[in-house]
Symmetry: D2
Subunit: 279 residues, 4 copies
Amino acid sequence: MAIGRETLENVFKVTNPKWRTAITKVEPNQIVTRGYSQEDLIGNISFSEMVFLLIKGEMPSKKESKLLGAVLVSFCDHGVTPPSTQAARMIASAGSPVHACIAGGLLAFGKNHAGAIERSMKALQEAFHSHESSDDIKTIARNFVDNHLKKGVKIPGFGHRYHNEDPRAKKLIEIACEYDCVGPHTQLAMEIQDILSDMKDIRMNIDGANAGILSDMGFDWRTGTGLFMIGRLPGLISHVYEEKVREPAFRKFFDMEEIYYDGIEERKVSYINFEEARD
Amino acid sequence: MAIGRETLENVFKVTNPKWRTAITKVEPNQIVTRGYSQEDLIGNISFSEMVFLLIKGEMPSKKESKLLGAVLVSFCDHGVTPPSTQAARMIASAGSPVHACIAGGLLAFGKNHAGAIERSMKALQEAFHSHESSDDIKTIARNFVDNHLKKGVKIPGFGHRYHNEDPRAKKLIEIACEYDCVGPHTQLAMEIQDILSDMKDIRMNIDGANAGILSDMGFDWRTGTGLFMIGRLPGLISHVYEEKVREPAFRKFFDMEEIYYDGIEERKVSYINFEEARD
Amino acid sequence: MAIGRETLENVFKVTNPKWRTAITKVEPNQIVTRGYSQEDLIGNISFSEMVFLLIKGEMPSKKESKLLGAVLVSFCDHGVTPPSTQAARMIASAGSPVHACIAGGLLAFGKNHAGAIERSMKALQEAFHSHESSDDIKTIARNFVDNHLKKGVKIPGFGHRYHNEDPRAKKLIEIACEYDCVGPHTQLAMEIQDILSDMKDIRMNIDGANAGILSDMGFDWRTGTGLFMIGRLPGLISHVYEEKVREPAFRKFFDMEEIYYDGIEERKVSYINFEEARD
Amino acid sequence: MAIGRETLENVFKVTNPKWRTAITKVEPNQIVTRGYSQEDLIGNISFSEMVFLLIKGEMPSKKESKLLGAVLVSFCDHGVTPPSTQAARMIASAGSPVHACIAGGLLAFGKNHAGAIERSMKALQEAFHSHESSDDIKTIARNFVDNHLKKGVKIPGFGHRYHNEDPRAKKLIEIACEYDCVGPHTQLAMEIQDILSDMKDIRMNIDGANAGILSDMGFDWRTGTGLFMIGRLPGLISHVYEEKVREPAFRKFFDMEEIYYDGIEERKVSYINFEEARD
C-alpha cells in the first residue's frame, strides 16, 4: 500500500513555523496588514491612522485619528537640548551612516529621558484599577497625589526642566476638549494639575497630557515610549541631516577646559607587574 | 575710566555657542519649529505635514501632504521577513527595553536592506544632471538602463525578492497620477519599468516608486533612508510589542540542526603556550 | 588700580567644567589613566590587567590578573546560538558597517541573555549581607536555595539551555582553586551546586562560576554585564567578519514556510475612512 | 518497491542548515573554538591570545601575543574627549541599561572617529601591492606621501587633534622594536613619519603605529575597527559605570546659552492648512 504524501510530510516535517505574527501576512504580490491589503491602505488612510492600526490592531475613528495626529506632532522636536538629539548629532559628526546615528539617538530614550510618558500612562491607568468604585475623579486625584508625596517620588508627567508652563500640554488638552475626546484619564491628569498647581506651581507637561489622551484612546502604557519615538523620529532625522550638511566633520563638542580630572595624580607600574607582563 | 561690565563680558565671553540649529528654537514656555510655534502646529497639521516641514523646512501643499502620507503608509510593514524586524524581535526576546530593540532593528537598515531607496533616489536625481538638455525622458531612461547594464550593476528600485509585481509600487504610482503629482523623476522610473519589464520581466518595487515620488517632491536623496525609517517605525514597534506580550522570553530562533560547523575539528593548546600563560 | 586679567577671568569664568572624571587625564602629549601614564602601561601590563585597572581603579595581583584572564577567555564565544551573535550577523548581512553590527549584537545583551551574570553576582553578594554572622556557608547556601524555591524564581547561574554540565564552569572553578583564589562567594556557589545537583541534577553554568569568582575579586555586580561584553566582543567581531567575507549579502535567514500568520484574514478600508483620508 | 528512508528525507528535507561557521562548534557539554576545546583554552591562554585566535584563526607566537596585548592596552581610554565616550555617558545619564549605553558609544566609531585605523592599515597594506618589486621602503614611503599630497587627502595615522607627539605611538614602536617584531608595514609607517616630521612637523599617532604593527602581524585591514573596539571597550564601560554611580541622573550637558538658533524667526500656519488638517 502506498504511503500518502500527507503521511510522509507528517513524518518528515518540511519545517515547523518558527515565527508567528498577527500583524502582516506576506504572500507573493500580496501584503495584508491587520486584515487590510496594503494597496487598500496606501492613499486611503493617513499615516496617523496607520500608526493606530499597527499598534492597536484596529482602525481609529475620525476623531481618534486627528487626535493621535496631534499627539505625534506634539512630540516632534525640542531643538538640540535633549540627550537623544545631542547623541545622534555626535554620532553623525563621528561619520556614522544615518541609520546608525538614529539608532544611537534612540538609545538615549532611557527611563530618565523618555520614561515619563510610560510611567505617567501606567500611573493614570493603574489609578482606575485600584480606586473604590464610588470614588469620583477629584478623590482619585487627591489620593494619587498623596500617594506620590507619601512615597517621596516625583509625579511623572508634571513639571519640565525648561518650561514652567509647557505650551504643548496646554494645546493638547484644548484639542482633546475640542474633539470631545476627554475621558477619565485626561480628566484625572487635569485634576492632578489643579492640585499641583495650587500646591507647588507645577503644571502638566507634554508627557502628562499625552499620557491622559493616549490612555483614553486605549493604548497600553507599554506602547508609550514607542509612540514618543514615532513622533520624535522626523526631528532626529532632520538634526542628523543638519549636522551632516552644515557642520564640520568630527567637531569638538567639549573643550579641554570643560573637563575636570579628579582622579589619582601619578604613580608608576611597579617592578613586579612589569616583570610579570614581560615574560 | 571704569570698564563696563558688557565690555568685559565681551572680552571674556561667558560661553560661546557650541551648537547652532535652524530647526527649533527653545525658550522658556515657547518652542518654535521651522518658524511655527508648536502650539500652532499641534492639532492644525497632520503628522505627514510635520515630517515634510521638519525635513524640508517648508510646509507642503495639500497634494504633497497627502502623497507623502501615502509614501509613509507604504513603508509600514513587511511582516517578519526583513532582517530589521527579525533583529528587533530577537533583541526583544533577549529582554532589552523597547527603545534598545528598535535601535537594534534600525541598525539593520544597512545598504543591502534599506539602501535601495537612497540609491534609487540618487540615480534618478543624477540622471537629470548628466543628460543633454534636448534628451526626452525615453532617451534618458534608455541611457540609464544601458549604463547600469554596461557596468553590470543592479538597477536600484526594481525587482523584489518576494514579489514579482510589488503591489505597493503599483498603487503608489496610481496615487501620484490621481493627485497629479507625477514629475520627471517618477516618469523616468515608469519608463525604466517599461524597458525592464519588456527585457527581463522585472518591475518597479516600492523603493523605485517612492524614489520617483520623493524626488519629484524635492527631497534630497540623502533623506531617503530617514523617510523609510519613519514609515517603518510603527511596524517595528508593533512587532517588538507582539514579541514581548505573546512569545516566551529568550526563545530559540534556530535549532542546533540548522547550524553547520565547517572549521577545524580538534587540536590541543601546545605545551609552549600553556607555560607562557601560566607563569 | 587696574584689575588684573586673572581677576577678570575669575569673575567671568571662561567655562565651567562640564565633565569630571577620575579615569583618565588628557593633556597635550600626556595621557594618564588611573594614575599611570599610558606609556608606562603599554607593553608593561597585559590586557586583562588593563581591564582590572580601568574597572576597579587598582592594579590586580598576579593571581587576580591570571584569573581575570581566564574569566574573560571563558566568555569568548558560543557559536551562532546566542541571539546577540545572530542579530550581529543579520545586521552585517544587511550591509551595515562593523561598528553598527557590533552595537546591534550588544543590544541583545538584555536581561534574558546577559542578565544572569549580574543577577548571580547580586544574589551571591547580597547573601553575605543578609545572613547571620554565625551562619556557615552551608547554611547560607541552604537558605539561598530555599528562598529562591519559595519565591518560585530561577536561581541565576545554574542550568544551561544547551549543556547539562557546562564545561566552562567546571574549568573555571578548577583554575580558581589552582590559583588559591576561592573566596566565600565562589564557595557559596559551589555549595549551591551541591544542593541543586542532588535535588534536580542542575549544575553551575558559566555565569554562576564567574559570578562567584568576580565577586571574590571585589567586582561590583553592576559591572557583570560589562565584563561579559568585554569577553564576548572578540567573538562577535569574528562572527561579523565571517558573515561579511563568507556569506552572500542580504541572505534570507528564514523561509516563508517558517512563518505562520495568525491574524485577521481580510477586511476592507471602509468608505468612511476612505473619504476622510482623501479630502 | 519500498522507498528508502534516505530518499524520503531527501524529498522532505528535515531542515537545511541555515548557518555555517568555522569559529565555534557547540555540542552538549562540549564547546570547541578554532579547534580548541574551551576547557583547554580557559586558564591556559591569555585574553590577548584569545583575541588573536578568534580573529585570525590561529594561535599567536609568544611575541605576537605580547605585542597584541600592548596594542590593545594602547587603545584603552582617552578620557571624556572622544564622541564615543561622550555619547555613551549621555545615554547612561538618560537612564538606559549598560549594554545600550555601550552600543550607543560604539555607534560613534564612525569613519571620522575610528576610521583612521582601518584607512591606515589599508593604505599601508596596499602600498606593498602596488609598488615595483625593486623599490625600497624609502621610495615606497616617498611615493605614498606624494600620492596623498597630490590627491590632497589627509594621510591616515598621522597627526592628532590633541597631541603634537602622541605618547602611545612612540611607546608602541619601541615595544615592537624590543620584541623584534618590526616588519615592512611598521617600517613604512616609520619612514612616512620621517618625511612628514621634516616637512610639516607631523608625527605618527596611535592609529598609524598600530596600523603598522597589526599589518605586520597579518591582520586584514577590515578588522582594524574591531580591534580598536576591543581595546576601548573596558574604558567605555568604566565611563558608563562612573556616570551612573557618580553623576546626577539626566544632567544637562549643554546650557541654553551654548545653543544658537539661526533659523526662521516666526510665521503662522496658514488658514488653508489649518482647514485641511481639521476636517
